[in-house]
């Protein structure tokens, strides 16, 4: 395989990790376009050399290229539509104005991470404890523009969605042994990768989290663990995802792979330490957590009522997904236990967060449930589609470590 082919095969991972590296550079380097640009060039050269060394034998091109390209084109059309939507106007979500975009803009004003700003945040909506990958990504753009502008900032979300779809496409080629089936799966997952919440961290988190799950699922531990660490650097939910992945690996007998998740922890650890040093509070663990959990467990009706009253939308999608799970149940249980367990644990953590919530349950569920469920659906939909479409004789790439 040529460097070009290897880069294309790893394109999604390279973009996702590249964004993380660019954001991390703002934590250690001066906020100058020349310094950051030079560092990016240096790192890109290193990646090029590494890809040359990693380049293996050429892959066989399966037949059916015209239909394959037709499906790829089909996947591009909704992605282009998403780009039009995402860049229509500056991000207008409240969470962008009160949290992700606010931090980015406040940091850019002082050309650095403004710990004083985070420390004096008086309203819970600013969430000073949230990890900074997304605000710093916005700042990378501002550094290169040499000024703050939120016009076209939504393009960041299009890049994340496209990168995830590349990862999905490559995984699907391995799973289905068919480029046409892989292009179809990528096309089918466009609406799940292209989230409607422009400016918020859901899209980037879904991209990192789903890509990590798919790579770890097939035994690609180093890249998978790095992406998992970047997911935890995007949203706090990534911390529970690391635990969920570890439990999933244990459940399928991949004990040694749990140790190989260390990059995920190593990536996230500096932020956790700095956050602790600056005493940035996490709302979910403030006050008496045990009392709240006990109260909600004693009377779970408000939680159940809130969960049942919030619409997740897309009824046809949920019906199709449920039907797919039923049809592919045996294959899923036999081959996809890792992902199913990891998603189940993560789902349990989300419900657990509601049980420990210091806020009004109805309010908390109303404004987060749809987004939390959206974290899990791309990976679940992927394994259902791969099980339905993929050949029966293809075994899970990484069964035991």
């Amino acid at each position: 395989m040529t460097v070009h082919a290897e880069a294309r095969r790893r394109g999604g991972e390279l973009v996702l990790i590249g964004i993380g590296v660019c954001a991390a550079m703002l934590g250690v380097l001066p906020w100058s376009r020349w310094v950051i640009g030079g560092a990016i060039l240096l790192i890109a050269s290193g990646v090029f050399v590494a890809l040359r060394r990693a380049a293996g034998p050429a892959v066989v091109q399966p037949a059916g290229r015209r239909r394959y390209h037709a499906f790829l084109l089909l996947a591009l059309i909704p992605l282009l539509g998403y780009a039009l939507y995402a860049t229509l106007a500056p991000p207008a979500e409240f969470d962008y104005l009160a949290d992700w975009g606010l931090k980015a803009r406040a940091f850019f004003e002082v050309r650095g991470i403004d710990w004083q700003f985070l420390g004096r945040a008086i309203a819970r909506d600013t969430h000073p404890d949230y990890p900074l990958l997304l605000p710093l990504t916005y700042d990378v753009i501002a550094v290169f523009r040499n000024g703050w502008s939120d016009a076209y900032l939504g393009i960041v979300h299009v890049v994340f969605a496209a990168a995830l779809l590349l990862v999905i496409h490559e995984s699907a080629i391995e799973d289905t042994r068919s480029r046409i089936a892989a292009a179809f799966i990528a096309f089918a997952l466009v609406p799940l990768a292209a989230t409607p919440w422009i400016g918020m961290a859901e899209g980037p988190f879904i991209a990192y989290g789903t890509a990590a799950l798919l790579l770890i699922r097939r035994g690609d531990m180093t890249l998978g663990a790095i992406l998992l660490g970047l997911a935890a650097s995007t949203k706090n939910e990534g911390l529970t995802l690391i635990a969920a992945v570890a439990i999933g690996l244990l459940c399928v007998g991949r004990k040694r792979d749990v140790i190989r998740l260390w990059p995920a922890v190593a990536i996230q650890l500096p932020w956790l330490i700095v956050r602790s040093l600056h005493n940035l509070p996490t709302d979910i663990v403030t006050g008496s957590v045990i009392d709240r959990v006990a109260a909600h467990l004693r009377d779970p009706r408000p939680l159940i009522s809130a969960l049942s009253s919030v619409s997740l939308g897309k009824p046809l999608f949920w019906i199709a997904l449920a039907a797919g799970i039923v049809i592919a149940a045996r294959t899923l249980v036999a081959r996809e236990r890792f992902i199913l367990v990891a998603l189940l644990i993560q789902f349990g953590c989300y419900v657990g967060a509601y049980v420990a919530s210091p806020y009004d349950i109805a309010w908390h569920v109303t404004y987060s449930w749809e987004r939390l469920v959206a974290h899990l659906t791309p990976a679940l939909t992927y394994v259902v589609l791969a099980s339905l479409i993929g050949p029966r004789d293809v075994l899970q790439p990484a069964t035991q470590s």
């Binding site: 229509l88 106007a89 500056p90 207008a92 979500e93 409240f94 962008y96 104005l97 009160a98 975009g101 606010l102 803009r105 406040a106 850019f108 004003e109 002082v110 004096r120 008086i122 309203a123 819970r124 909506d125 600013t126 703050w148």
Partner: protein
């Protein structure tokens, strides 16, 4: 393309729609203040959850780089003491009379006061 421009304008106005003119006011305040200024947000609301949070949280982004102080907190407690820390008051649809401050700009939806001297 004309529809896209109109849609974009609607998108930008969407987060501020419950308090018309508040975005424009904060943009004017930004244009008339400097990084590092300490700005207190005044409004005709007495409860955090009944208008004040809406205005205060949405003022932070356009006023990034300034220290933006509330005069009411999440528990509906008044924080008049923040006026002593502020050198600027951005007042939405009200005109507070605060000793030591003078009106330096007046717009359709609010006024800007600055500490004298």
């Amino acid at each position: 393309m004309a529809d896209r421009a109109r849609l974009a304008a609607n998108f930008v106005a969407l987060p501020y729609q419950k308090l018309p003119g508040s975005r424009e006011l904060m943009l004017e305040v930004r244009a008339r203040t400097n990084p590092g200024d300490v700005i207190a947000i005044a409004a005709p609301f007495t409860k955090w959850g009944q208008g004040y949070r809406y205005l205060y949280m949405r003022s932070l982004y356009p006023l990034a780089g300034r220290v933006v102080l509330p005069l009411i907190d999440e528990q509906d407690r008044a924080h008049g003491g923040n006026l002593t820390r502020a050198n600027v008051i951005a007042a939405y649809r009200c005109e507070p009379r605060v000793p030591g401050f003078e009106v330096v700009w007046r717009g359709r939806d609010g006024v800007l006061l600055r500490r004298k001297g």
